[in-house]
């Protein structure tokens, strides 16, 4: 079974492709709606800015297709910005609407604590909030690589599966809402732990 990788020419796809290759998982690069036909699992990577990314996703009608697939029980994993756009809205470069697949919003880390240095960049640990197959075989407080200035807020506490502490403040670093998953860190850049997480996602059984 191939995993679809959404590619909107906004950033480095190479590292995700290399990671999946290392895991012997077949991927299909999806640049348009048509490329997504028959896909059973989808990764939504994201490097870049929210506004720019949403504009690109909409011009290609890929947004509707992602939503449609999620209704058809396709497992979706959002990574970093790809995680943030799953939510209702973001304040990055001014208000922008997201995909609204998960209730909640995205705002600057400095809205949690104005003293935080942004971007939050480097290796930081994830503390589990709930047991989830995405983290199978990865111990609690494992380190992952983060690089972001915005974080998700005001979502249903039930979907949170991991939190991360930065300079005394906590933010949500991973969610699972039925078949929709999201992580704020970059698993493709997080060595063994990240590769394991991607393997777990590729092996998730369809719900």
């Amino acid at each position: 079974m191939k995993i679809g990788l959404i590619d909107l020419n906004t950033g480095n796809m190479g590292s995700l492709v290399s990671a999946m290759k290392k895991l012997n998982v077949d991927v299909k690069i999806c640049k348009s709606k048509e490329d997504m036909i028959g896909i059973k699992k989808l990764i939504l990577p994201g490097v870049g800015a929210f506004k720019d990314f949403m504009k690109k996703i909409k011009t290609k009608n890929v947004d509707k297709e992602i939503k449609k697939l999620s209704m058809e029980n396709v497992s979706i994993l959002g990574v970093c910005l790809g995680f943030q756009i799953l939510f209702d809205q973001s304040m990055e470069h001014g208000f922008t609407q997201g995909l609204s697949m998960v209730t909640g919003k995205v705002d600057s880390l400095t809205t949690i604590n104005k003293k935080l240095k942004i971007p939050h960049v480097g290796w930081n640990s994830c503390k589990y909030d709930k047991k989830n197959p995405l983290f199978d075989g990865i111990s609690d407080y494992s380190d992952f690589y983060f690089t972001h200035s915005y974080c998700v807020k005001e979502h249903d506490k039930k979907i949170r599966i991991a939190i991360t502490e930065y300079d005394g403040s906590n933010f949500t670093s991973a969610i699972a809402s039925k078949n929709v998953y999201g992580v704020q860190f970059h698993p493709e850049k997080s060595q063994f732990n990240g590769l394991r997480l991607l393997k777990n996602f590729s092996e998730l059984s369809q719900c």
Binding site: T10, G11, N12, G14, S15, S18, A19, K21, K22, V47, G48, A49, D52, L81, K117, I118, P119, H120, V121, G122, W123, N124, S125, D143, Y145, T147, H148, S149, E165, Y166, D167, H186, E188, K189, S190, Q191, F192, G194, L195
Partner: protein, 246 residues
């Protein structure tokens, strides 16, 4: 808790891995000595006098296939087209140099497309007559009178994510980082800071994490002269109460 980082800097001269001293290629590396599983990040810089961009991009492609930590690419990047190519070939971040002084629009162009977190801005400085510090540009060839804090703040306002404080006078010295200066500067900069230039033993990296607000220690030469692995360096740091990923 956010961890401190140890970043390995690799400098390439005409496609060949070299170490540098005072910004000049000095010694050729041959063996495959880099433990890509223990480092926190990799930084690859082209130091060739005459750049062969295509050849350098092939090196990036090669590394990115087998490296599952972030890769920063730099050395003479001049425009958004080159930045695009770096990202397409596997860079996660780019390192901008003194081109940002000459062409101030470059930072905002890159940040709009790839986000602030994708830019590390290098600030090359030199200690003059043992007292004052000057910003250098054109690969360390020209001294300027620009104020270092003002320059860093203007970079942050334009949209850089991290600042690399690059000590040209200390490059390749192995005498340790310039702690006093880096302590003063890192306290005043509002984004994460990285330090490069001077590390010769693990204690130097320990010192910089203990005494300054520097987030990441970059080093190239140290691995060339010591038999120690990066993993043992990180164990040493952890034993000395530095929050680091082991």
């Amino acid at each position: 808790m956010l961890k401190k980082r140890v970043i390995i800097t690799l400098t390439f001269n005409n496609g060949v891995l070299f170490r540098t001293k005072n910004f000049n290629p000095d010694y050729r590396y041959t063996k495959n000595f880099i433990d890509l599983w223990s480092i926190d990040e990799l930084m690859i810089i082209d130091v060739s006098k005459r750049k062969n961009f295509k050849k350098f991009q092939n090196i990036i492609k090669d590394f990115s296939r087998n490296c599952f930590v972030p890769i920063t690419v730099g050395g003479g990047i001049k425009d958004i087209d080159q930045v695009n190519q770096c990202f397409n070939n596997g860079a996660d971040k780019i390192l901008l140099g003194s081109e940002s002084i000459k062409n101030p629009k470059l930072i905002s162009l890159v940040s709009k497309k790839f986000g602030n977190q994708s830019i590390i801005q290098s600030v090359d400085f030199k200690k003059i007559d043992n007292k004052s510090y000057k910003i250098m540009c054109q690969s360390g060839k020209r001294l300027t009178n620009i104020d270092i804090i003002k320059l860093c703040n203007s970079y942050i306002n334009k949209g850089v994510g991290e600042i690399l404080l690059n000590d040209v006078s200390n490059d390749g010295s192995l005498l340790g980082y310039d702690l006093k200066f880096l302590k003063k500067i890192s306290k005043k900069i509002k984004c994460p800071t990285l330090a490069l230039g001077g590390a010769g033993k693990w204690e130097h990296i320990l010192e910089i994490f203990k005494k300054t607000k520097i987030q990441a220690a970059c080093t190239q030469n140290i691995y060339h002269f010591t038999e120690e692995s990066i993993l043992s360096a990180k164990r040493f740091l952890k034993k000395n109460n530095i929050d680091i990923r082991v």
